[in-house]
Symmetry: C2
Subunit: 235 residues, 2 copies
């Protein structure tokens, strides 16, 4: 009886952990959406809110960490349970980074709003939408432990890389056209890179889902080289 109670309560503990990770993912997704909206609208208030809200994501990561370490110490889980906890630790680490990158976009917007508008801004929302779609699918896959969906989301990172490469070229062309665009476009290079990195971390999340659901790594067949995304352009 007592053992059964312990088991049930451990399941509850795990569910709480997964829910916290999903909440963190939802926040990170919203941060990216808001940062890009702030960019397009040149809205410094919204950008400032994004920067400030990053602390909530960091706090959630700390909670998840503490909870996971407590579970490891108290429950001494094995096999799938152990993987679920290590997975939550790792996924929350990636989501924290995603939050960081979104917040960095927010900081760039604050700088960009001091500069004249640059045309390539118009290409950012498309790339961001794709990354958010993939992140959203990945989080769904985590919530439902859906291996197939995780792999499908993971394989779409290549599209992100293509969009990023196109954007990189557009930004360099824009700088070459007129030296007055250089400052703004330099910051936009990093905005684009930040969004591309969010895609990379989403890929990591998908890989971790694969591992925690199946017990085997997905890394072997990684869809791309090593996360640089734009060394293809010999400009």
């Amino acid at each position: 009886m007592n053992a059964e109670h312990t088991v049930r309560s451990f399941d509850e503990d795990l569910k709480t952990l997964v829910k916290a990770v999903l909440r963190m993912g939802g926040l990170a997704e919203a941060q990216l959406a808001n940062a890009v909206q702030a960019l397009v609208r040149r809205d410094s208030d919204l950008a400032g809110q994004v920067v400030a809200a990053d602390a909530r994501i960091d706090a959630l990561e700390q909670e998840i960490n503490d909870h996971a370490v407590r579970l490891l110490a108290l429950r001494q889980p094995m096999a799938a349970d152990l993987r679920a906890i290590i997975g939550a630790l790792k996924i929350s680490g990636d989501l924290e980074r995603i939050g960081d990158y979104a917040s960095n976009v927010g900081k760039r917007v604050l700088v960009l709003n001091q500069l004249p508008p640059a045309r390539p801004v118009a290409s950012i929302p498309g790339m961001s939408r794709l990354v958010r779609d993939i992140l959203n699918d990945t989080l769904d896959a985590y919530g439902t432990q859906d291996l197939h969906k995780a792999v499908e989301a993971w394989s779409r990172d290549e599209e992100v890389d293509h969009l990023y490469t196109a954007l990189f070229r557009e930004l360099v062309s824009c700088m070459m056209e007129d030296a007055r665009n250089i400052s703004a476009c330099s910051h936009l290079l990093f905005v684009a890179k930040n969004i591309e990195r969010i895609g990379d971390h989403t890929t990591n999340v998908a890989e971790n889902i694969h591992f925690l659901v199946s017990g085997t790594p997905l890394r072997a067949a990684r869809p791309k080289g090593g996360g640089i995304g734009d060394t293809g352009d010999r400009l």
Copy 2:
């Protein structure tokens, strides 16, 4: 007797884990040194070696991961032992990223070697040397569990940020001077950013050392805002 044996052997297990992390750190440090040497000498062979050698760091991380998870499962450690294992997991994650960034510098060198040389390259080795110094001290602190040294290394990340900001400005100026510099300088922007990010991850390592040695987080007093490093320049 048996219990003592188990204890002793667990200590051995932990030492093996720490040594693997230190080896990984040494490799990551060497990768950064080689990548920057390849940049300065325009040496594509060396750059290619750096890119290829990243796989060894990734493999070491996987080994550390597997070892750590096995220890968690088999030994069910508590308190300081648990922190040591979680610490090794986290530190190896940061070292893997450091390796990634060094390898990205190598990839940029391969692109840069197709382009005319750009003057600001000369400012990269100084920044890289500082980051390597800090990484070296941080790894020493990990090997000796030296809290004081870890905090000291951690606090030097601010110097890195200043060098990065200066370099960012230099690169933008160089692009403005002559549009023919724009391609090379765009790639150098990312080289500089990669090295600055290596500094950030080194900071994370120092924070993890603090936690695993003392059981309390260092994050509260982080020396800087949020890892963007160059939003100060309203160019």
